[in-house]
């Protein structure tokens, strides 16, 4: 059987916009040989911005009567 691993908010790397999870293997590392990996589940608060400066969609202008 496969080994399960759960990454949580405690694994979020700082300054990554909550997009990077890092898990440090104990005892200096883990050796993989002929292994596979899959996602069992992800639980996430849906708080993805749709208008941002990085998308380049946050500026408009208007011309007034003056």
């Amino acid at each position: 059987m496969g080994k399960k691993n759960i990454l949580t908010t405690a694994n979020i790397e700082e300054n990554s916009n909550n997009t990077k999870l890092v898990y440090n293997f104990s005892s200096g590392g883990y050796s993989f040989k002929d292994d596979m990996i899959a996602v069992l589940s992800i639980y996430q608060y849906f708080s993805i911005f749709n208008v941002t400066s990085s998308y380049g969609n946050n500026t408009v202008s208007y011309v007034w009567f003056d």
Binding site: L21, T52, N57, T59, V60, W64
Partner: protein
Amino acid sequence: MEYNITIPDGYYEISDLNAYFQSIMIANTHYMTNYAGQFIYFLEFIVNTSRYAVQINSYPLDTDIQSSNGYILPTGATWSVPTTSTLSQFNINTTGFGEVFGYEIGSYPDTQVGSSTLRFVSSEAPQITPYSSILVSCNLVNNRAVIPSNILTSYTPLGASIGSLFTFEPNYLQFADVEDGQYTQLVLEFRDQQKYCHKRSQHVNHFIHRNKKIKYLNIYTGDIFSCRLVCGARHSFRTPR
């Protein structure tokens, strides 16, 4: 005179964008009030559900319209009502915002001269959210069929409303090969999907995302509450013949 607006990063529906836009107009005293004290705006955008579009409305103003409707300039207004009928313009300056509204870059209307209300609808389908799926990459994965080769899975926050807890539980496990070796860390990254792509990998990207081209920039996801993984030897996951 042209007034620039920078919208703070966030999640907006069309109505939210209109509300923010009008809040800026209030701050600039670019509105009037009627006899009942209601605010009158001469530029707005609304959802046109029947046309699957965002509709921009520009209403004319001159001294005759003001007097016949009893419009009053707000206190502190630094502008005066034009004597000849004039329209205000909404300018879409970037392709990014144009995609949100489904408009080409340009001014709507293209001239301020006009005496009747002008309405515009999107020429393309509005994309209120630039992303449609989230890609999960893992440093252990080496998938030789795709570029980048470390994509573990992708999912779509289908049916999720802003602020709600979203769950992704695949019906069947999508296993990816782990590159043999010694690792000190397991690193997962969540990235958005956009319709642009790295030109070099365009054809390969089609393998992992039907007709959706991918850009690995603009990372923006919410808090990851938890992510469960399963890992083990290849033979242990194979179905016996």
